[in-house]
């Protein structure tokens, strides 16, 4: 086998390994961000996929079970609403009529089972956001896996 051929074959092997690595990794780690309307439109295709769903918590929809840890509510983007089921501790800022992002999968009967409710971070790094002062009286954040 000539030298050039050997280099080409070696290069192809490395390239194939890389493509496999990248493809496999992306399959595992990509999380799509969808709106309630997009989710409604593609109900079947979204089943079983890990998603991030963002919208507004519908006023009057928030119910808390007696165990204090189970929440049911609806997220809307104005045109569609998705029922959410969540067990855990939601972030401090989570309340009706405010924006929220949940992470999880769409389950049976079109209910989105959230494994986490994420605090909405501001888009920009600025220590002096206009906003309410945080209350040190009690604080229970959501499950954030990444750093702030």
């Amino acid at each position: 086998m000539s030298r050039a051929k050997r280099f080409i074959i070696g290069g192809l092997v490395i390239l194939a390994a890389l493509v496999y690595l990248i493809y496999g990794g992306m399959q595992e780690a990509i999380v799509y961000f969808v709106t309630p309307a997009e989710l409604k439109a593609n109900d079947a295709g979204s089943k079983g996929k890990f998603l991030r769903l963002g919208g507004m918590v519908v006023k009057g929809s928030l119910q808390r079970d007696p165990d204090g840890l189970t929440y049911r509510f609806e997220l809307t983007d104005g045109s569609a609403a998705i029922p959410i089921y969540f067990r855990g501790v939601p972030p401090d800022l989570f309340t009706e009529g405010k924006g929220a992002v949940v992470e999880g999968k769409i389950g049976d009967k079109g209910v989105f089972v959230a494994s986490a409710i994420m605090a909405k971070h501001s888009e920009e790094y600025s220590p002096h956001e206009q906003g309410k002062e945080s209350s040190p009286r009690s604080f229970i954040p959501g499950k954030e896996k990444t750093k702030p």
Binding site: R3, I14, L18, L21, I22, G24, G25, M26, E28, A29, I30, V31, Y32, F33, V34, R52, V89, D92, L93, A119, H121, S122, E123, E124, Y125, S126, P127, H128, E129, G131, K132, E133, S134, S135, P136, R137, S138, F139, I140, P141, E144, T146, K147, P148
Partner: protein, 655 residues
């Protein structure tokens, strides 16, 4: 007044920079050597003026001159002196000012050190410096002016982001910028060599030490960043594959590849085009990183507010890539006729493979970082690429690298004989396999970490074995003791032994990463007063909440009495800090390190309603402390490598 002095200095420096660009071209056109002196004078002028401007900004910060907007945004009257100074890199405008300052210090050093050398290259080297400097001055003067004034003058400033008020944050950005800017030196020499068409190895030999130094600062900057993340951000990790971290890490990969492949060019005059490409990519990535983090295209804690800065950086990036690779193509005929690889089993091919792996790692990380941008631009759908992608993709690549770290320094050049392989690798391989068996029987049951630990053992064994053989030889020949034999060896071949020590440091870091990633334990529990949580050998008893008003914030801490196997580790008090004007509190995690594992406590919530109930998040991260230790070993190794050689004795390196 201060603002005026600073701003005028910047404008004058910009004029100097433009002069520094034009002078070498004029000299070349007219054949008048006097213009070459102009290039030097332009650098000197910029050095003085930019230093004046930076000093003005520091003076403004220290004297809390609130007529300057930047000072208002980054200090308060209550800010202590050192945090006023570090306010220089607390936000975008000052960071760019600092970058330009470090750049012009490097340029000045180069101009001064090579005053009488490289007469042909130097004007063009200085021209490249002036081009880069002109860009940064342009940005500082017109797109992100740190000397912008406010009227009426406010009574007090708003202060630094509290997360940045930490000793590590005082050093992390300057270290990183020094690393980034340091890469400009080999880049400038490479471009000068291309312009002149003198493409022998002299630009590489000259910039060798600069490259090692830049690499060193890049490494340290990234490590200190990781340490800051672990120490301050309070999430229990040190690396999140956040775009900001990737931006700082990406230039490190081609820089490391370059550091290795230039040895092949020095020895065997191969890989000329490759080396030029690597340094262009490394330099371009430093600009790309700034674009990524400072333009607001991605949002994260470091991504400062957006502005025209992004477009300018993107344009400059295009100029660099088109200009540099255009020049490379133009000189392509000068770069032909290189020696061929003799054998696949040789040091050249080990280094080549090392380069392929490093560049592959760069490509995968780059792709993962910009994929959300591409996706949003092309299909409009928003997505995020999580840390699992980066871990999955880089783990095998880095394991191959660790293996090559054992092979590369010991295998023979050109063609390794079976004898050479047996001599250098038989015993280290046996030792590594023995350790692997012991680990597999005793503790480590999973494939990937076992492979990682085994490869770490292999690299360590090759280095110890090789050094032991060399020491034995010296003892026999010169009758030296072990210690003086080691010193003689290191003195005779500083680059080799410095490099080996750096490799040992990298092994320790890999050990820390493999241990902490594979065997971390994470638990979350809500505890009432007096309740105890038991995790592994640790017993954590919750003693109660304490609240206090601090000068800058309100602090709530949980007191936890911690025992490790009955051994008292004392009272640990993770806290939440509530800053006025901030929406959510900032956690202050507390941890205890040991050689075997770290215990990391985070107060993740508390409630007043049920009185003294705290939600505690606890992490046990094995071997993590070895990472930071590895950093110190790298410092040591780099010092060995770049220590000025003895005059007259040993092999002298130019540059």
């Amino acid at each position: 007044m201060t603002a005026g002095v600073g701003y005028v200095s910047i404008l004058l420096a910009l004029i100097c920079a433009l002069g520094g660009i034009v002078a070498p071209i004029l000299a070349h056109r007219t054949g008048n050597e006097r213009y070459f002196a102009g290039a030097r004078a332009a650098i000197l002028g910029q050095f003085v003026l930019v230093t004046l401007a930076a000093s003005a900004l520091i003076y403004g910060l220290v004297s809390t001159d609130f007529s300057i907007k930047y000072v208002v945004n980054n200090t308060t009257r209550a800010t202590p002196f050192y945090y006023r100074v570090t306010g220089l890199w607390g936000a975008l405008e000052g960071s760019l000012m600092l970058w330009e300052w470090i750049l012009i210090i490097f340029s000045g050093l180069v101009a001064w050190i090579y005053k009488d050398r490289h007469r042909e290259l130097m004007p063009w080297v200085l021209m490249i410096f002036s081009i880069v400097s002109a860009f940064f001055l342009l940005v500082v003067a017109f797109a992100s002016n740190p000397f912008e004034t406010v009227f009426p003058v406010p009574l007090d400033g708003r202060g630094l982001n509290p997360l940045l008020e930490d000793a590590n944050m005082m050093t992390h950005p300057p270290l990183l910028y020094t690393g980034f800017v340091g890469l400009t030196v080999p880049y400038a020499f490479a471009m000068a060599a291309l312009i002149v068409g003198k493409l022998n190895d002299s630009w590489i030999v000259t910039t060798r030490r600069w490259t090692i130094t830049a690499w060193f600062f890049l490494t340290l900057g990234n490590l200190v960043g990781a340490y800051w993340s672990y120490h301050v951000l309070g999430w229990g990790g040190y690396w999140a594959w956040d775009p900001v971290e990737n931006a700082a890490f990406m230039p490190w990969l081609p820089a490391t590849a370059f550091l290795h492949s230039i040895q092949v060019q020095e020895r065997r005059h191969m890989l000329k085009v490759w080396n030029l490409s690597l340094i262009i990519i490394a330099f371009a990535l430093t600009i790309f990183g700034t674009f990524l983090t400072r333009s607001g295209v991605l949002s994260s804690i470091h991504a400062f507010a957006s502005g025209p800065v992004g477009i300018l950086f993107l344009a400059f990036l295009a100029v660099i890539l088109i200009g540099s690779f255009g020049l490379l193509a133009y000189r392509a005929d000068h770069l032909k006729g290189q020696p061929q690889l003799d054998s696949m089993v040789s040091r050249e091919s080990a280094f080549l493979l090392n380069n392929v792996v490093l560049v592959s790692a760069l490509f995968t990380i780059f792709l993962g970082t910009i994929f959300p941008l591409i996706s949003e631009a092309v299909t409009g759908s928003q997505l995020s690429v999580g840390a699992p992608y980066f871990n999955w993709v880089t783990a095998p690549l880095f394991l191959v690298l660790v293996f090559l770290m054992g092979v590369g320094p010991m295998i023979a050049w050109r063609r390794a004989s079976l004898d050479n392989l047996k001599r250098n690798f038989l015993w280290p391989a046996v030792a590594a396999l023995l350790i692997a068996v012991v680990l597999a029987v005793g503790w480590v049951r999973d494939f990937l970490p076992l492979l990682g630990f085994t490869l770490c053992a292999f690299v360590t064994a090759t280095i110890l074995f090789d050094t032991a053989l060399a020491v034995r030889a010296r003892r026999r020949i010169a009758g030296e003791g072990v210690f003086s034999a080691l010193v003689t060896l290191a003195r005779r071949n500083q680059r080799r032994y410095g490099g080996l020590v750096v490799h040992l440091g990298v092994v320790l870091i890999i050990l820390g990463i493999a241990g902490s990633m594979s065997y971390s334990v994470e638990r979350e529990a809500t505890l009432g007063q007096g309740e105890t949580l038991t995790v592994g050998p640790y017993k954590i008893q919750f003693q109660g909440l304490r609240a206090s008003q601090q000068p800058t914030h309100f602090r709530v801490e949980g007191a936890f009495q911690v025992h490790n196997n009955g051994h008292d580790l004392g009272l640990l008090t993770p806290a939440l800090k509530f800053f006025p004007g901030q929406q959510s509190p900032i956690g202050r995690a507390v941890y205890r390190s040991s050689f075997t594992q770290d215990l990391y406590l985070i107060l993740s919530g508390f409630s007043e309603i049920e009185k003294n109930r705290a939600t505690l998040r606890l992490l046990v991260r094995p071997l993590l402390a070895w990472m930071w230790l590895g950093g110190f070993v790298i410092v040591l190794g780099t010092l060995v490598a770049i220590w000025p050689p003895k005059k007259g004795g040993g092999r002298r390196d130019e540059g």
